[in-house]
């Protein structure tokens, strides 16, 4: 039903008056013109639409807007701080961890959530966590290497 939904979006307050049953993916892509979050399957299987809600990765194609009322939401557009890339973004570039780039936003979001919960996950933990994200171009081993690079650096700083 139509409602005003307030939440934090990429660090700034957002307020939208709309049907709050709508899926976050389409609100982001149509109402807010944040098109970095992609449609891939519509059923939460492929991970192209992943966003961060309160530090955890969510499938925005299956997340109604009302579920993020009052929450902190981050999309791929919120990952860099100005021109300064997030270490994950830099690692994806360093390792050429994408080809067509369509799954990349979701990969970055899920990797971000993994490292939020565990700053130096094991190789197997990374593989298991990223299992829910599909890539058709076959950048898999480079994506794992990119995440491992960031995890290793996180470990160093401790």
């Amino acid at each position: 039903m139509k409602n005003i939904v307030k939440f934090s979006l990429n660090g700034a307050p957002a307020s939208i008056e709309t049907d709050d049953e709508r899926m976050l993916l389409w609100v982001l892509r149509t109402d807010l013109a944040l098109t970095g979050t992609k449609y891939g399957c519509g059923e939460g299987i492929c991970g192209a639409c992943a966003v961060i809600v309160n530090g955890k990765a969510h499938r925005s194609c299956r997340t109604p807007l009302k579920a993020v009322a009052g929450a902190d939401v981050m999309t791929v557009e919120g990952l860099a701080k100005g021109d300064e890339l997030h270490p994950l973004q830099q690692a994806f570039i360093d390792h050429d961890a994408f080809q067509c780039g369509y799954c990349t936003s979701g990969m970055l979001m899920d990797a971000y959530a993994l490292l939020e919960g565990d700053s130096h996950p094991s190789h197997q933990r990374i593989v298991d966590h990223m299992e829910r994200n599909l890539c058709r171009c076959g950048a898999h081993q480079r994506i794992i290497s990119a995440i491992e690079q960031v995890a290793a650096k996180a470990g160093d700083s401790k």
């Binding site: 399957c41 860099a80 050429d96 067509c100």
Partner: protein
């Protein structure tokens, strides 16, 4: 440049470019010569321009779908020009700004377009050097060109930049003859790993794909789809849908669509439409399709006839039938287009591999001259051959014309599976023989429905017949005929995946029967120096151990010659004999593709090809019942995921004597074969059908 333009002479076209230096060039591709190029002269294919700000723009009708040519083409231009890659801008796949191109497929961009681009850049460098010699009052021979600057050799302060040279001049050149290109030993840009030019945009979400384009007042369309291929609409009731607030319903000439400013509302309204369909009689399914293909394919065409296959001596004979099901392209970006059709012109942003042919089909749908249609191709989210057909763009154009507003059509994942132009199901029959000397004495090969690519073996064989039935040429277009229940079309290295699977499996079968190590058996029939070298490179990198198979180790080998490149792949697998589940431990792939433009880009393509090949080898096979597609999403149609991807080592075999060859496809052609051969080595079970699902592997082991 302006939008729609009339056909120009070459002189007036180059004047449109404004000042600076422009070099036009043609690609030596048959595909580029046939069709009309509205708004452009007939005698060139692409061009590059150097402007007063020093930026260099390459205009090409090719598109970037992940394969990395936005980077490798820029590298080639930068190398021959003496400029930095960062000073090159690529304008790709825009039918108003780029001259005609047939499409991006067949690993042709680097092979066919590359030499022409390099020649044009070399010509531009000559022009720049001549201008600089006049400006600096020295002989051109005294000049050095690097980083976009021409300077007197040994006196770097006496210099002039490309931008300064391009200022206030209007120079146009056309390259027709072969240019003298820089030798590989002199390369400073080509042959060096170069980061993707699209990197920052793709990791920040700023990269625009066709579905990301937003226009004021645009509508999102959802279209009534048939439940099965071949179903005919009997009646449709759109009353309830029309009552949804803000919805526009279109019902015209068989196209029934609902449109709304919110895509979910459009989807909900579509569900309100009640439709009756008359379904066709049940046709073949994924199990009976092979019998159907064999029964209906008709007489094969003879491709190769050498020696006499009927009279060849045979100590041992081998007759084998191989099968492979339909495979989906399944790019994560579905087909999508945004059309903005006005009374006198149309602009369409489309996810397509073939912007120019698409422009023409949209023009036909709209009743427009194709000069009034502009197709713009932003980044494409994966193609693999599947984005050659562009039905969604024509639908968006029709709907925009009807509604008078911009319209986006984005296929749902279910629609994507339904309307895919699948890699065809196919059958290969091989009757071969070994002579008393342990050499292959006969090779009689028939392929049904896969196509000719890869069907002719690379081995030295005396008595050979190769025939193909219902294999269409691998043009950039899909087709629907009476043989298949739905459309089929080119899929990354069309036909070659099946032909190499069958050929290299049969070679292994014979090697085992001859009691010979499969590597030694191959080398015994192989004189081609490039192929022997890639084989040896792969063998050394892997650490191949000679043995008669099956050895229990789970090692397999396969070779292929494709798109001008040669490739050898070796794999190690483990097989759970009870469940039939195959775990790929390691894959080594050595490839000779001539001069390597971007080594890191080449490795990425090889790794990607091998990863994609795991899908058609183990899990990907479309399930269907007649025209009804049973796989509707990625839950039942399983792409390779992180946990099945092994360690992949791509080894580039240096060959600077040969111009750059195809890279995006060759490696994938070996994957089915190398894994089937590895499964045989592990278990003794010979897999004759792809994909090798756990159930099929377990059943084959149980039959031993």
């Amino acid at each position: 440049m302006s939008g729609a333009s009339v056909k120009l002479s070459r002189r007036s076209f180059l004047e449109v470019l404004g000042g600076g230096i422009a070099v036009a060039f043609g690609a030596a591709s048959a595909a580029s010569t046939a069709a009309e190029r509205p708004g452009y002269p007939d005698d060139f294919h692409s061009y590059l321009a150097i402007r007063a700000d020093g930026r260099i723009t390459v205009f090409s009708g090719k598109i970037e779908m992940g394969q990395g040519i936005v980077t490798s083409l820029a590298q080639m231009a930068a190398e021959e020009l003496g400029a930095d890659v960062g000073s090159i801008d690529m304008v790709m796949g825009d039918t108003d700004r780029c001259p005609f191109d047939m499409g991006t497929f067949g690993s042709l961009s680097t092979r066919m377009f590359g030499p022409a681009l390099r020649a044009a850049a070399a010509k531009a460098r000559t022009v720049l050097t001549t201008l600089a010699a006049e400006r600096l009052n020295v002989s051109p021979k005294q000049l050095t060109v690097a980083h976009g600057v021409v300077s007197i050799t040994g006196q770097p302060v006496r210099r002039v930049t490309f931008g300064e040279l391009a200022e206030r001049v209007r120079i146009t050149e056309t390259v027709t003859e072969a240019a003298v290109l820089r030798a590989a030993s002199d390369f400073t840009v080509m042959g060096r790993p170069t980061k993707r030019l699209d990197g920052i945009e793709k990791v920040t979400g700023r990269a625009k794909y066709a579905g990301d384009i937003r226009l004021p007042d645009m509508l999102y369309a959802r279209i009534l789809r048939a439940p099965t291929h071949g179903a005919v609409l009997v009646s449709a009731d759109t009353n309830a849908a029309e009552k949804v607030a803000g919805v526009t319903v279109v019902n015209r000439d068989g196209l029934i669509a609902v449109l709304h400013a919110d895509p979910e509302t459009a989807a909900a309204a579509l569900r309100q439409i009640g439709a009756d369909w008359r379904r066709p009689e049940a046709g073949p399914d994924q199990e009976t399709i092979f019998e159907h293909l064999v029964a209906h394919a008709g007489e094969p065409t003879e491709l190769v006839a050498k020696g006499d296959v009927s009279k060849a001596a045979a100590a041992k004979s081998f007759e084998t039938i191989f099968q492979k099901g339909y495979v989906a392209h399944a790019p994560i970006e579905p087909h999508v287009a945004l059309a903005d059709v006005r009374t006198d012109r149309a602009t369409v942003w489309a996810s397509t591999q073939t912007p120019f042919p698409l422009r023409d089909s949209i023009a036909a749908v709209l009743g427009f001259d194709n000069k009034r249609v502009r197709v713009i191709t932003p980044y494409v989210g994966g193609g693999f051959g599947g984005k050659s057909a562009g039905g969604q763009a024509s639908e968006a154009a029709r709907l925009s014309q009807i509604c008078g507003r911009p319209v986006q059509v984005m296929r749902t994942r279910e629609e994507e599976f339904f309307y895919d132009t699948f890699d065809p199901a196919c059958v290969v029959k091989i009757a071969s023989a070994l002579g008393a000397d342990g050499k292959i004495s006969r090779w009689d090969y028939e392929v049904i429905a896969a196509g000719e690519r890869g069907a002719t073996p690379s081995y030295d064989l005396a008595n050979v017949r190769v025939r193909s039935a219902r294999g269409l040429a691998y043009a950039g277009s899909a087709w629907k005929d009476d043989l298949h229940p739905f459309a089929v079309g080119p899929w990354r290295a069309p036909g070659a995946n099946m032909n190499i699977f069958a050929t290299e499996s049969q070679i292994d079968i014979m090697a085992a029967a001859a009691g010979t190590d499969p590597l030694a058996f191959r080398l015994g029939h192989l004189s081609d120096g490039r192929m022997r070298k890639v084989l040896q490179t792969a063998v050394d990198a892997f650490g191949w151990q000679a043995a008669v198979r099956p050895s229990g180790r789970g090692h397999g080998i396969a070779i292929s010659s494709d798109a001008g490149s040669v490739v050898a792949t070796i794999a190690e697998v483990k097989v759970d004999r009870t469940s039939g589940r195959v775990t790929v431990v390691r894959i080594v792939c050595a490839q000779d593709m001539g001069i390597v433009v971007n080594p890191e880009g080449a490795r990425m393509q090889i790794e990607g090809a091998i990863t994609m090949g795991l899908g058609y080898s183990f899990s990907e096979e479309l399930r269907f019942q007649g025209g009804e597609i049973l796989d509707k999403n990625y839950d039942t149609y399983r792409l390779p995921r992180f946990d099945v991807v092994p360690k992949i080592e791509a080894v580039l075999v240096s060959n600077d004597e040969l111009a750059p060859q195809g890279c995006g496809e060759p490696a994938i052609t070996t994957v089915g074969a190398v894994l089937a051969n590895a499964v045989f080595d592990a278990t003794g079970a010979r897999m004759l059908r792809l994909p090798m699902t756990p159930q099929r592997v377990a059943a084959a082991i149980a039959r031993l």
